[in-house]
């Protein structure tokens, strides 16, 4: 059972500003029914003062998604568009007295809907190319969104990214990519772990990786109707491809992460597994 604050419960049971504004000046739509949550935000904006005079929402989702959406409308009403853009997903969560860590993506959805609505108001078209390539196909999350949310909320682990964006929480195929993004983002700020003392020759390392994949990993994947292929081993990066049932499996992100953990445990703790 989720531990929701009284404020979350209040905004879930008696949400404020439900519905749709007629002839809205701005509309922001994010999420989809397939992903499990979606939010449609409509705004009335005074063109003279740029003030948001009214805000309404419609949300498909769990209690915290509904509460976050309602909280967003309360936070932005009466603010100018620029002031409203200053509201972060953390502000939405704080307004509700906090959200469970795993539910932070609900507050991010609120913030995104606001950005989408403002873009619409300002006549900025949102094209797919501008949004960047979709990294998590299960939940349709772009690389850009992951970078942005990671920066804004100081996220350093893949699990945190999943809590805040859902990315990597489905098949898991993209978890390696997310890890790479995080390394890229924080490489200057997080000191590299010191090298493990035992040095493996490259040949020995490759042999060891192959052996572990054969012995520890392939049988499990095959049992689920999948398979694995080693594409390349270059330095500490092991590129693999998941085959059969693993392709597009909701758990494949978890799988890649599991493989990486296993290789780090048994070969060398700096190994990065990347799925092709």
């Amino acid at each position: 059972m989720w531990e929701y604050t009284e404020k979350v419960k209040e905004f879930f049971l008696q949400p404020k500003n439900i519905g749709e504004i007629e002839n809205p000046d701005a509309v922001g739509e994010v999420g989809s029914i397939v992903c499990g949550d979606a939010l449609r935000l409509t705004l009335k904006i005074d063109k003279e003062t740029n003030k948001i005079t009214d805000a309404k929402f419609q949300t498909f989702g769990c209690a915290s998604a509904i509460a976050s959406s309602s909280a967003l409308t309360e936070l932005i009403k009466g603010k100018s568009v620029d002031e409203a853009l200053g509201i972060s997903n953390q502000d939405i969560a704080d307004f509700l007295g906090g959200l469970p860590q795993e539910k932070m993506h609900c507050s991010v959805m609120g913030r995104e809907a606001l950005e989408a609505a403002v873009a619409h108001y300002r006549g900025i078209p949102i094209s797919v190319e501008e949004e960047g390539k979709v990294l998590c196909k299960c939940f349709n999350v772009t690389e850009e969104k992951i970078r942005k949310v990671a920066m804004e909320n100081h996220l350093t682990t893949v699990d945190e990214i999943t809590d805040y964006t859902k990315a990597g929480g489905g098949c898991g195929e993209c978890r390696g990519d997310i890890e790479a993004i995080l390394r890229d983002l924080w490489s200057l700020k997080i000191p590299e772990k010191p090298e493990k003392s035992k040095k493996l020759t490259n040949l020995r390392k490759i042999a060891l990786i192959q052996e572990i994949i054969e012995r520890e990993i392939r049988p499990g994947l095959q049992a689920d109707g999948g398979d694995i292929e080693i594409i390349d081993i270059e330095g500490k990066t092991v590129t693999i491809a998941l085959r059969g049932m693993c392709t597009g499996c909701v758990m494949s992100g978890v799988t890649v992460n599991g493989i990486q953990e296993k290789l780090r445990e048994l070969v060398s703790d700096d190994i990065i597994v990347v799925a092709q």
Partner: protein
């Protein structure tokens, strides 16, 4: 506020008669049945009485009953025993819709080099016996298939499957945790070698389970230690809970036919009324072959956790296959295996009844549910177009 407990596939109320029966053994008679003195040793007879009652409910001989700590332990033990009995055979057949106690244990064995076949189900959650036949080979050590599914209530054709396997001399285990006590089961006629059941699903307390092992079946213990349970399951007996389980099985055996009829009546009333009063609802599962107490309904355009928390405000307890209730982002593996669309999985709600539910309670749910669905659909960006007039007034 009175609790209306419609989540009996998760766990059940301990029957008052069961609790009464247990109390002296928690308070006064705390001895160890293995002791030489009368104070402890006399409990051995009580445990054996309970064993006979459990055996009676499923048509078994008392010596075919092994007490364990849970349904999960029974399932794990059955699988390990089959695997150890045939060390040269490295293949197990199960289904995609098993309880995690079987599913994850099989995946665990897969990581140890076993080959596992996970049988598929169709959109009603039914198995295809031909697929099972094709999967069998000389390497197959065990087939383990649940008797009834916990999420949608489907009852699988265990007799039919068992007869096929008997010819091929393959060990057959069934996880009957959801079936025992709800529908009659007679192991004299049922062609299975092993069967699991759990105390807390049949109005006994948590922490006690049973593995039935047919006489003549090779058996290897999983929990190793003392000589309890004739060397088949070590650990000092959970005396009070075993006595409670005996009592619970005695009550179930007396009333099972009548009870399953009245449960089905209440369940059908609930299901029909909700289908009638709420638009865009579908039933998940096999309505022909289903547990009498279970219904799994999908309410389109709304999300399960939101429904559960609104129900919670009225003291109504149910469960959902939605991702948001699972603690992960993954929705129900059972509904996904059935190919239920994601939109319908997110809005799935399971009601599971017991003998302690009244018609008034069901009526109460029928009364409040349509408004909950309506109000959540009003919140939903997907509800409007489809529902037209049904959501115009709050």
């Amino acid at each position: 506020m009175k609790t209306i407990y419609l989540d009996n596939n998760a766990t059940t109320q301990v029957a008052p008669e069961v609790l009464e029966e247990m109390l002296p053994y928690l308070r006064d008679y705390y001895g160890n049945p293995s002791s030489m003195h009368t104070f402890g040793g006399q409990l051995h007879r009580k445990v054996e009485e309970a064993r006979a009652k459990v055996a009676h409910l499923i048509g078994a001989e008392p010596e075919e009953i092994i007490f364990t700590s849970s349904g999960t332990e029974s399932d794990n033990t059955a699988i390990m025993s089959a695997v150890e009995s045939f060390p040269q055979k490295r293949h197990i057949i199960t289904t995609r819709v098993e309880h995690p106690a079987v599913l994850n244990f099989c995946k665990h064995l897969a990581r140890r080099g076993y080959r596992i076949t996970f049988l598929t189900v169709n959109s009603k959650g039914q198995l295809n016996i031909d697929e099972l036949l094709k999967a069998i080979d000389d390497n197959t050590a065990l087939v383990t298939i649940m008797y009834a599914n916990n999420e949608v209530g489907n009852i699988f054709p265990i007799s039919e499957i068992g007869n096929v396997l008997k010819e091929r001399r393959i060990v057959f285990h069934t996880d009957a945790v959801q079936a025992v006590g709800k529908i009659p089961i007679d192991t004299k006629k049922l062609p299975v070698e092993m069967l699991s059941l759990s105390g807390h699903k049949v109005h006994a307390p948590k922490g006690v389970g049973v593995l039935y092992v047919r006489k003549g079946t090779r058996f290897y213990p999983y929990v190793i230690g003392g000589h309890q349970e004739r060397g088949r399951r070590a650990g000092t007996e959970n005396v009070a809970s075993i006595i409670g389980l005996g009592k619970a099985c005695e009550i179930a055996a007396k009333n099972i036919t009548q009870e399953s009829l009245s449960l089905a009546h209440l369940r059908d009333k609930l299901e029909k009324a909700l289908m009638h009063k709420c638009p865009d609802v579908r039933i998940n599962g096999d309505v022909i072959s289903r547990l009498p107490n279970t219904t799994n309904l999908s309410f389109e355009y709304v999300e399960g956790e939101a429904i559960l928390l609104r129900l919670n405000e009225y003291g109504v307890c149910a469960s959902s296959g939605s991702a948001c209730t699972s603690g992960s982002l993954e929705p129900s593996h059972v509904l996904r295996a059935m190919g239920v669309p994601f939109t319908a999985i997110h809005g799935s709600i399971r009601f599971s009844l017991s003998r302690y539910n009244s018609e008034a309670e069901v009526d109460r749910v029928i009364e409040i549910m349509p408004d909950i669905i309506k109000s959540l659909r009003q919140l939903s960006p997907f509800g409007r177009e489809k529902l037209g007039e049904s959501v115009t007034s709050p």
